[in-house]
Subunit: 210 residues, 4 copies
């Protein structure tokens, strides 16, 4: 058991694995920039405000494997954890998210494996975002490999909420129970976020009609 775990750590820290994963992040970031540039020609504003990419850490990978009741092996991680490579785009308005999704679906060299729409169907916690599990082709050392990554699209307000929620989850590990009330408040807050995003979008549409 211990040996498998060490192999997981070793493989996640393998130089070639990291280099490939960074390449996938760069490719997806470049794709988002191009989509943004293209949309901005007509819309005369940025659709994607900011974007980040990251590799999932060994620690965080183990936590997720535990939660799913899987063994700590690289193959278990590669098959079951879709966000080992993750890219996040923060959009200005809710409808921008679906515009970006549509543009990604039109790209011939991106396979979309799965879409989880936590905007139309927020998580129990109140979490909202659009998750796309993608595959992109990477030419590396002469061969083309299709590599999986998760792209998260959300508004600035959803991102605001998610950062606060993440901070709570991090704290939870040191505490017991007292945070049930906070969970409740965060959920209420997620509803304010949703209401804000909807109201802002409606106003923008009215402004555009002037």
């Amino acid at each position: 058991m211990k040996k498998v775990e060490n192999k997981l750590k070793e493989k996640l820290n393998n130089k070639e694995f990291i280099a490939k994963s960074q390449c996938v992040i760069r490719l997806l970031m470049a794709r988002l920039e191009i989509i943004n540039m293209e949309l901005s020609v007509n819309l005369k504003r940025d659709v994607i405000q900011s974007k980040t990419g990251r590799l999932k850490s060994y620690k965080s990978t183990c936590k997720k494997l535990n939660k799913k009741g899987l063994e700590r092996s690289f193959s278990a991680a590669a098959e079951n954890i879709h966000d080992l490579i993750g890219v996040r785009g923060v959009c200005s308005y809710v409808d921008d998210i679906y515009l970006v999704q549509k543009m990604l679906e039109e790209q011939q060299d991106i396979n979309i494996l799965k879409i989880k729409d936590y905007i139309k169907h927020p998580k129990e916690s109140g979490y909202q975002s659009l998750h796309m599990i993608l595959e992109v082709p990477l030419v590396f050392q002469g061969e083309t490999q299709w590599i999986k990554a998760e792209l998260q699209l959300r508004t600035a307000a959803m991102d605001y909420w998610a950062n606060l929620d993440h901070q709570l989850r991090y704290k939870k590990e040191d505490s017991q129970g007292r945070e049930a009330a906070i969970d409740q408040e965060l959920k209420k807050c997620a509803e304010i976020v949703e209401y804000l995003d909807q109201t802002m979008l409606e106003i923008r549409k009215k402004i555009e009609k002037i």
Copy 2:
């Protein structure tokens, strides 16, 4: 009249003026980065999410002079328009804004000329932000000059609102009257933003106490 105006344009586009102003922007951005790094040691999170800087365009300077009933001369602009050089910092939470303000007040080589707190006292439109009119020393061509700039601090939610409001103001020039109703809705939206920021801050404080 026309001649004075041309001189304004010329002076705003003067290479040395632009170089100096860019230096002031760089200095202030570096200062914000340092404040962020310092605060993050104890708080274990970023206090300043993002920052931008810009020089006010000739067109936008003229508009502001008109609104204030001033002539289009460089001296009128330099004396009365405080944001010819502008830097904006977007903070995560409302109290972070006042933390950053306090740290700036402790810096010995920054003069704070004026503070306009549009968070405690939002503008009629609903606009919220903390504006600080500062002076920073710039050693340029052997001499030290104190140069004025405006620093705007706001939360991500306030920034979201301000971008939408700016888009409306831009449109307004082409339209007539129909936007009074939109103004009303934007104001309501500013209240949601305020409510969201307060709720998020309260939750964060509760999380920190766990």
Copy 3:
């Protein structure tokens, strides 16, 4: 004639043309980053030190059309000037340039139209660089278009020389004749650059064999 020229200016400054061209630059920069990451896994050093991209200015486009005896129209420019979109990569060693070329040739979604090897065959002036005229596919507004761009690869020493040479050419327009002697010295300097690059490469190869 004047009308055609105005159209050239207008088309080069057209927002969609600029957005598309910027997309091509982003794509090529991302491609160079990926190639660099891939090569660095085995070589344990950066092969591409730095890279830049630019659109050719209207002024500089006109100059080149003049020199070629062509009319100042957009179609003349698009057909005959290959570096309207230009990307430059600065490599550490001469052999790195050919490594990058080889990797680009293996990419299936890049067409290489022409290669001009000014390293093996320097220009009369002494200028050295590898120029590749490429076509890359851009999905824009639903359609795939193949867009032409020039990629210049050179060592840091060649880049050093080219910057100095460019400065001279810029000055030349204001002067007459006196610079023939300088041309001669620049050419001598280009030979020192070549000698330096060769010597550095030989030493690196010896170091690698240790």
Copy 4:
């Protein structure tokens, strides 16, 4: 002994030490940018082509302490190793280096502790660069501290050479003796670099006089 060493590692990895050091790097980088902007107004070209900053790693700190015959303690490192915090600026021409030095000497809030001119007096190996040991004031947690850092200024050609030399030194540890001949060739190469820099500078001066 082991305990002192562990303390060195711990202190070099201390979050506050790292944050402060990063602040010093940011401050010096901002200062170089400002100097470059100021000089570019008159010279109409960039004087500082690129710049980087880094903290010295624990491993590299130990190596240097060993070489100097000092114990592996933080106080020994802080007093005797001047480049725990290091910033490097790459200039276009040799005379630009001295221009930047002069501008730094005129800054009232930078103390220059020592200047080592390895351009006028290259190291035995052939190494060329201008090293300035500086102290800059950092306001951190309410107090002003003067923190030491090393600024290295060199031309692109010197940087080219130094990178190759560094690669050799790195290899040397795994080899024995065979590299004496390479040392000799590197030294010869350093002379070509010097000759190139001088020739380029002379040509630039002639071009400026046209």
